[in-house]
Symmetry: C2
Subunit: 230 residues, 2 copies
């Protein structure tokens, strides 16, 4: 009755999450074409499953399905990038506040474990995985806030953020400075809602400003795309 296994575990979920994680960790670059047969062969499933997975990924905007043309890892536009971060700045501070108000010792420990993992990945030179874990840190906060609906939104926003970072990150700026995450955990552990909210807000603003959302209107991949227009 009190089982946490709320997951029905669909079958195509395996390929779906695997692809999602690959995108998250920047192993699949924006614009990469995902052929159905190709993916089907890799995972040893039929195209039926792959299509189902693609549909899920398309819904959270991780890939673009162009009818009769195929699925491509999404390339969020500048506008989309701005919108995603504006949405995050609207939702997540509130989420952090609720999380701080509700957090138990166990929750705080869970967050600290996340940060540790992040450190380890970073020290191991696996910046892709570090980025992924950095995202799941935010998702964990939303989970603690006990607002599943908003948490779901945050989840998709963070997934898209990963693509945005892949496209628009200014490499000169430090992105994964975990000081912000540390401070956030402390505030949450102390049930300091006000401070958690403010820390999250400033953290997101920092993240937002570490992106270059001015120029580079479209990362061109092929000549064809350059001439076809968006």
């Amino acid at each position: 009755m009190t089982k946490t296994a709320q997951t029905p575990k669909g079958s195509g979920d395996r390929v779906s999450s695997s692809l999602a994680q690959a995108i998250h960790e920047h192993r699949l670059a924006p614009g990469t074409k995902l052929g159905e047969d190709e993916v089907a062969e890799i995972y040893n499933v039929s195209r039926t499953i792959v299509r189902s997975a693609f549909q899920s990924l398309a819904h959270i905007k991780l890939i673009d399905i162009k009818r009769n043309h195929g699925a491509y890892v999404a390339q969020p536009s500048l506008r989309e990038a701005r919108e995603v971060f504006e949405a995050r700045e609207l939702l997540e501070p509130r989420t952090a506040r609720s999380a701080a108000a509700l957090a138990t010792q166990e929750d705080a420990d869970s967050l600290r474990r996340h940060i540790d993992e992040e450190h380890k990945a970073l020290n191991a030179g696996d910046s892709g995985r570090a980025l992924y874990l950095s995202g799941s840190f935010h998702i964990e906060i939303a989970r603690i806030a006990n607002q599943r609906t908003i948490a779901e939104f945050v989840k998709t926003l963070i997934a898209r953020s990963s693509l945005i970072i892949a496209l628009y990150w200014r490499r000169e700026s430090a992105l994964c400075e975990s000081t912000a995450h540390h401070a956030l955990v402390d505030a949450i552990a102390n049930n300091d809602a006000e401070r958690a909210e403010e820390l999250m807000r400033s953290h997101l603003v920092d993240l937002h400003s570490a992106l270059d959302l001015r120029e580079k209107p479209m990362p061109i991949r092929t000549l064809r795309e350059a001439l076809a227009g968006e």
Copy 2:
């Protein structure tokens, strides 16, 4: 190039939107089982299409797909209902503010047309359609706000609101009082962002309080369900 036809128009979208509208208009009650063959026959398509449509509807929580059991029109729990309205109260006032800041004459006209349609449906006794239009009024505001990402969230929240209203509406309270919508349009037409935000907030609070979110933990449909537990 400047085409607004952003819609790829998938094929199963027809059945998906048709089902969505039926749920929206309360022609399909929460808990109703949707058999794949049954739906496939109705729309003269294969189960492949139906499954694809079901997946879309499940993603926006309009239906629940229980593995190996089938698809059912969702029955939002009390908790879910609260969460949905809390999310709306977080997102929509901000959306209304942006909409008011950006609205053109054309936008205002569009909103007024929506209200007119709503009135007509109500006078024609088609309360289901009136409810549907009432929802699309909110979506239209999100569209005007020019925040597609948030608009998408609002869209799903409103779809779920329709189910919530079906389950928890206190019939004694007036729901579709369009005075609120009228005032909102006026504020938006006058580009009064502050007022639009506040009107939206109070409108949502009114809506929220027109629901009975205290008792009635589970609307029982069959004896079996009553005994099986959630």
